[in-house]
């Protein structure tokens, strides 16, 4: 950065009051950032993730695939049709008999409705369209369904979160609950919430999905990461989204 203006103490991302980053004891990762990184997220002009949002907006209305249509052909203005969708994801999907998230929904729509190739997980285009759609839910509290058919998958996600794993014999909860607010090398440990995804991570110089973050954390525990879009990560994504229930969607966030 050459000349990022510092955030005046009283302003917060999207003009939100400080309280909006916390619901009961659940805190957004935003609250653990330094002033300068907060300033990047606060200003949509500076927020690097908006390059992805803009690209996503182009993809939304670009005709692609054998059906000769775009997402916008059916859904129109995403600001209306997609408002709130991300806040209810991930969710149980009867066809998969498992959990589906925003990335997989987008790819299913591409294959079925556009008759186009699905995007590779973590590709620039999938991240861009995911960021564009998640952005349409900005400010809406995350509220995922964990009862009924989702219950067994939610349980599996919870079972991933608590056991120790990897060579360091660590669990998610040891870092993100027990060491909430402490330092891990240069990083201040947050609660590991997912309301800002997909985000722009400065240390990656790129956008990243929830599953890429999970894999990064698995590596930090010296545990073998699972594949993106694996059942393990989808179940975990549901559990972690529920952990942060009520936190407003902040996507696309900026993190260190």
């Amino acid at each position: 950065m050459l000349a990022a203006p510092l955030a005046p103490a009283a302003t917060f991302a999207q003009g939100w009051a400080a309280e909006r980053y916390q619901v009961e004891d659940r805190k957004s990762g935003y609250l653990y950032l330094g002033d300068q990184t907060q300033a990047l997220q606060d200003d949509d002009f500076l927020n690097h993730a908006f390059f992805a949002v803009e690209r996503g907006a182009e993809l939304w209305s670009a005709v692609d695939g054998a059906a000769g249509v775009s997402c916008a052909s059916c859904h129109g203005d995403a600001a209306e049709s997609m408002r709130g969708v991300t806040a209810r994801l991930p969710r149980y999907d009867s066809e998969r008999d498992g959990i589906i998230n925003l990335e997989l929904l987008i790819n299913r729509e591409r294959e079925r409705k556009l008759k186009a190739e699905p995007y590779a997980y973590e590709s620039e285009d999938l991240l861009a369209l995911t960021a564009f759609l998640a952005f349409q839910s900005r400010g809406i509290p995350s509220e995922v369904e964990i009862g009924g058919a989702a219950a067994p998958f939610f349980e599996k996600g919870r079972e991933h979160y608590f056991p120790r794993r990897g060579q360091l014999d660590l669990s998610c909860t040891q870092c993100h609950d027990e060491r909430d607010g402490m330092m891990l090398r240069g990083d201040r440990m947050s609660q590991g919430q997912t309301n800002g995804f997909p985000f722009y991570r400065l240390s990656w110089h790129s956008m990243g999905s929830t599953h890429r973050m999970f894999a990064w954390c698995n590596n930090a525990m010296r545990a073998e990461p699972y594949a993106p879009a694996s059942e393990e990560y989808l179940n975990l994504e549901l559990y972690v989204a529920w952990r942060g229930r009520g936190l407003p969607i902040e996507a696309p966030a900026v993190r260190r």
């Binding site: 950065m1 050459l2 000349a3 500076l46 690097h48 390059f51 803009e54 690209r55 182009e58 110089h205």
Partner: protein, 108 residues
């Protein structure tokens, strides 16, 4: 490069003689040439090395950039609103590509 790669902010209107802030951001990896891929090969240097701004065809701001400027370089500077017209931005990168952007300003 494709659209959406640069972004600028210029006030749409300003009073004559007013000091205005101009902001510009480019999406660029700014590879410094010192990094290696996992397979051991070097990532070649690829940066934006010069940035220029014209106000009604007169150069009002220029900067030479070097390695160690972070990805997606952002710059802001001030100028005086003298007359209505166009502000043109140019970013020059190592591959010989020039990215351009322009914005209109009305001075009243």
């Amino acid at each position: 490069m494709a659209d959406g790669i640069t972004r600028v902010a210029v006030p749409e209107t300003a009073a004559k003689g007013e000091i205005i802030e101009i902001k510009a951001l480019a999406s660029h990896p700014m590879d410094n040439g010192f990094m290696f891929r996992d397979n051991g090969t070097r990532i070649p240097r690829w940066i934006i090395h010069r940035f220029e701004v014209d106000y009604n065809d007169e150069l009002i701001f220029a900067a030479d950039w070097h390695v160690a400027i972070s990805a997606n370089p952002y710059i802001s500077f001030h100028t005086i609103a003298t007359e209505s017209g166009t502000i043109n931005f140019r970013w020059f990168d190592d591959n010989g590509d020039i990215y351009t952007e322009s914005a209109k300003i009305t001075v009243v």
